[in-house]
């Protein structure tokens, strides 16, 4: 049986549903030495900012039960260096490029979207989990009014495919998802990392210098799955699902919960071949279960 793996995320067409999550894959260069990047549906690149950032000093990682908390602090070469040095490399592979953007202010988000509007990227992923400098450092994505404003204004700044990455650290993700859809986003990606903390009991200090960070890995998978399912029942635009996916069984769970495509993140660290193994596993599952197109799995829960 021939399996059709192609998915259409409302204008962003992927040859298969397996992508890699922003912040876990750099710009693909390092992993390109362990697998053929052209096997991936898309790469969401390391979170970009307007200017280059060195990221956080001190300890940036705490390993936790089946997960890790990171506090990298958006270390990246800046959007201009990305366009100049990384897009040509990524373009030499058969994959879609998702540019993940991060701002201190709504103006910065818009400026980046305008710059990328003229760049050779296939989608812009708006990370609304960044601290809002003008609002006491509270994340943009936690305040419905701010979400409405940032998505609306970024939407007007670019005609590119626009994906908005949702934070799980909110009271009601469904409300946020509805706003993002209404403001014209083409697609949603979820979930971002879950806020978490680890403490060194002998130093009696938090392991991470900044206190808390973002928890990722299999530990958050059940949370992510539930939120993907909630959002699936709330909006009509497609979902790129992620959060602790390490095996093809995990990936299929997300598809059944309502995701149209999935992203592999932290699993890359422990298994650089994870995306390829997951893709092969999805194909085996399709044959076994009689799905001819991967799109049929999305939301196919009894």
């Amino acid at each position: 049986m021939k399996t059709n793996l192609c998915v259409d995320l409302n204008g962003l067409v992927l040859k298969n549903p397996v992508t890699t999550a922003s912040g876990t894959y750099g710009f693909g260069r390092e992993y390109g030495e362990y697998l053929d990047l052209s096997l991936l549906g898309a790469i969401s690149v390391k979170g970009l900012t307007l200017e280059p950032r060195e990221g956080n000093e001190g300890v940036r990682i705490a390993e936790t039960p089946m997960g890790m908390i990171n506090s990298v602090g958006l270390q990246n070469p800046g959007v201009h260096a990305f366009i100049e040095h990384e897009i040509p490399f990524l373009r030499s592979h058969d994959l879609k490029i998702i540019a993940n953007i991060n701002g201190n202010t709504i103006e910065e988000y818009c400026e980046m979207a305008q710059i990328l509007d003229h760049a050779d990227v296939d989608s812009i992923e708006l990370n609304i989990s960044c601290p809002n400098v003008k609002n006491g450092g509270l994340a943009f994505g936690t305040n419905p009014k701010v979400v409405q404003e940032v998505v609306s204004r970024v939407r007007k700044s670019t005609s590119k495919h626009l994906m908005v990455k949702l934070s799980p650290n909110v009271t009601d993700i469904k409300e946020i998802a509805r706003i993002v859809e209404a403001e014209g986003a083409d697609c949603l990606s979820l979930i971002n990392t879950v806020s978490g903390m680890a403490i060194d009991i002998y130093k009696r200090r938090t392991v991470l210098k900044r206190g808390s960070g973002g928890l990722s890995g299999p530990a958050i998978k059940p949370i992510a799955l539930k939120l993907v399912n909630d959002v699936y029942h709330t909006v009509k635009i497609p979902i790129l699902g992620m959060g602790g996916i390490a095996t093809h069984e995990d990936a299929v769970e997300f598809l059944l919960a309502g995701a149209s495509a999935i992203a592999v993140g932290t699993a890359n660290f422990s298994n650089p071949k994870a995306p390829v193994e997951i893709l092969e596993g999805i194909q085996r599952y399709m044959v076994q279960m009689g799905y001819s197109s991967v799109t049929q799995i999305t939301g196919d829960l009894k």
């Binding site: 940036r60 990682i61 932290t266 890359n268």
Partner: protein, 260 residues
């Protein structure tokens, strides 16, 4: 493509209560190995702990690669429990490793489990064109010392708790020896406090030193950016280099040691 796969354990030897030498088959796909490089090793096939453990190479020949593992936490404990004949999953060699430069007078400094990669280094330094002095420091019983003893001119052994060895810091011997010997290259690995003192002493003396640094890692290949080493950039700035990919070897003159 670089090596990420399985290899069989061919030898295992507990050399201390909490230190074990594990030798695996050297797989062709691993390619060239440089002393000071490391492998990122899956602690358990069960997948817990989740992240691999970066372990430096403490020796290699055409057929085997040896790791000397100190049991510190759950990951290294699981690694140490593998038996001869079992296979482990690992990727590598990773990182830059030491630059083996031509030098007449060489000094090697190792502290604690940091002695392990220095054993791998001294076994691969060109002989007998260089004269090698060695300073090793331990908390308790010294280990892995034979490889150094047979290859060096001078050996100073420190132990904090065991009588018959020098007490104090390895830097005491370093400060004595650099007064009378013009070392052309120094190689060092050990606890951060030791490396900080070694770098300070040698930077002031104008002697080049290669430091093999350590940090908690995740991917091990430079993608995730969770392990950093603060290094000098231009005259007044710094950058956060990737410990796993740009290091783990950095020259003492380029590292910035913050006081916590």
């Amino acid at each position: 493509m670089r090596f990420d796969g399985f290899s069989k354990i061919v030898d295992k030897d507990w050399i201390q209560d909490d230190v074990v030498m594990i030798s695996i088959e050297r797989v062709a796909e691993m390619g060239e190995i440089i002393p000071g490089q490391f492998f990122n090793i899956q602690a358990s096939a069960a997948g817990y702990p989740m992240l691999r453990r970066p372990i430096s190479v403490s020796g290699y020949d055409e057929k085997t690669v040896t790791f000397t593992v100190k049991v510190l936490g759950a990951g290294t404990k699981q690694l140490s429990e593998h038996r001869v004949g079992e296979v482990i999953k690992l990727m590598g060699p990773l990182g830059n490793g030491f630059e083996r430069v031509k030098a007449k007078k060489v000094l090697i400094i190792g502290g604690g489990i940091g002695v392990a990669p220095m054993k791998g280094l001294i076994e691969k330094l060109e002989q007998p064109s260089s004269e090698i002095d060695v300073i090793l420091g331990f908390k308790d019983h010294p280990y892995l010392t034979d490889s150094f003893r047979t290859r060096c001119q001078r050996l100073a052994l420190f132990s904090e708790t065991i009588s018959g060895f020098r007490k104090g810091y390895v830097t005491e011997a370093l400060e004595e020896w650099i007064k009378t010997t013009a070392y052309e290259m120094v190689y060092a690995c050990g606890p951060l406090a030791m490396l900080r003192r070694v770098a300070k002493t040698l930077n002031e003396a104008g002697v080049p030193v290669q430091l093999l640094m350590e940090e908690k890692m995740a991917c091990g290949i430079g993608a995730c950016l969770v392990c950093t080493c603060k290094t000098k950039k231009d005259d007044f700035n710094f950058k956060l280099s990737r410990m796993c990919k740009d290091g783990p070897m950095f020259y003492g003159s380029e590292v910035i040691f913050d006081e916590n």
